[in-house]
Symmetry: C2
Subunit: 188 residues, 2 copies
């Protein structure tokens, strides 16, 4: 899909702040795709639509998780996770994107999971480090992203899991498995 057309579609579903973030994720995804050998056009499209479902009603997201046979354990964890798999469903249904690689990159961009493709990882990381992001630790991840996709992701996961643990919050099992996989990769 044409970039301008895609941005025009997604803009209606986002706040101004989230649209600016989305443009940042788009630019960063293209850079990372170039650097680490993912399809740049798919990275662009996945980035543009990654937060498509971010502002959907919680009840609607819950229904989609139930009706579309998404992982039901999502409902036991923080609802912040829901917009990613729900987004993959809605981007296919409402926007008509059928490319599974793009849809998966949208699907896994918040939880992560074991066995992600380079494209999945690019979107996950771009979402974390795009230039508008400002939080403790982001700069270190940006620097790591210059030289290693997996090292940058490992640090991002450590930050995220530490953040959740400090708040006594559960960690979604796919996120934990993604972390463990990255540590095991380091040892190879």
């Amino acid at each position: 899909m044409n970039r301008d057309k895609a941005l025009e579609i997604v803009k209606e579903h986002l706040t101004e702040h989230r649209f600016v973030h989305t443009c940042g994720v788009m630019e960063t995804s293209i850079e990372l795709a170039k650097r680490y050998g993912a399809d740049e056009k798919k990275a662009e499209t996945a980035a543009i639509f990654h937060d498509y479902a971010k502002f959907r009603d919680k009840q609607e997201m819950q229904s989609i998780i139930e009706d579309e046979g998404l992982a039901q354990d999502l409902l036991l964890y923080n609802s912040e996770l829901w917009h990613a798999p729900v987004g993959a469903v809605l981007v296919e249904r409402e926007v008509g994107i059928e490319d599974v690689e793009i849809l998966n990159a949208i699907r896994f961009h918040t939880s992560g999971k074991e066995g992600m493709t380079v494209l999945d990882k690019v979107i996950y990381l771009a979402d974390y480090i795009e230039p508008n992001r400002q939080f403790p630790g982001v700069e270190e991840v940006r620097e790591l992203a210059e030289k290693s996709l997996d090292l940058a992701l490992l640090k991002a996961l450590q930050n995220t899991m530490t953040f959740l643990m400090k708040r006594n919050q559960a960690i979604y099992p796919d996120t934990f498995r993604f972390y463990n996989e990255l540590t095991l990769n380091q040892r190879r």
Copy 2:
């Protein structure tokens, strides 16, 4: 089993330093068992034998994990985890203790797992806070242990997982599930 006899048996398998630790775990386990309603005598016995296999040869431990049908994924994770399930096997085989509650408390004292009994939790926590332990954060866990078994364990798990993450080390899935279960309990 008589306390003195049990201590005499275990002493031969431990360094002096580890024997002192074991006596600390014993005293603390009895206190915690009283406080949180576990069987004090079982807590005493499980505590005395919790590190029975600590100094076994790594090759021997690996063989036992393979031959006794213990969780094979243990072999993919830090060998520090092995002495607990291997200990349960050897305490049964060599010392003749057959009480499943005692053996399980030994088995799970390092990794933890979902669905632990109060006795399992008592041994896990006593191992962490016994008076000879000195590391950052232990005092806070000791204080929490005065009022809530699960809150103390949650903090201990957070410390342990943070420690592992800072070193880019994998977290054993049972440990992660134990953490998540404790966070979900907080919400109830």
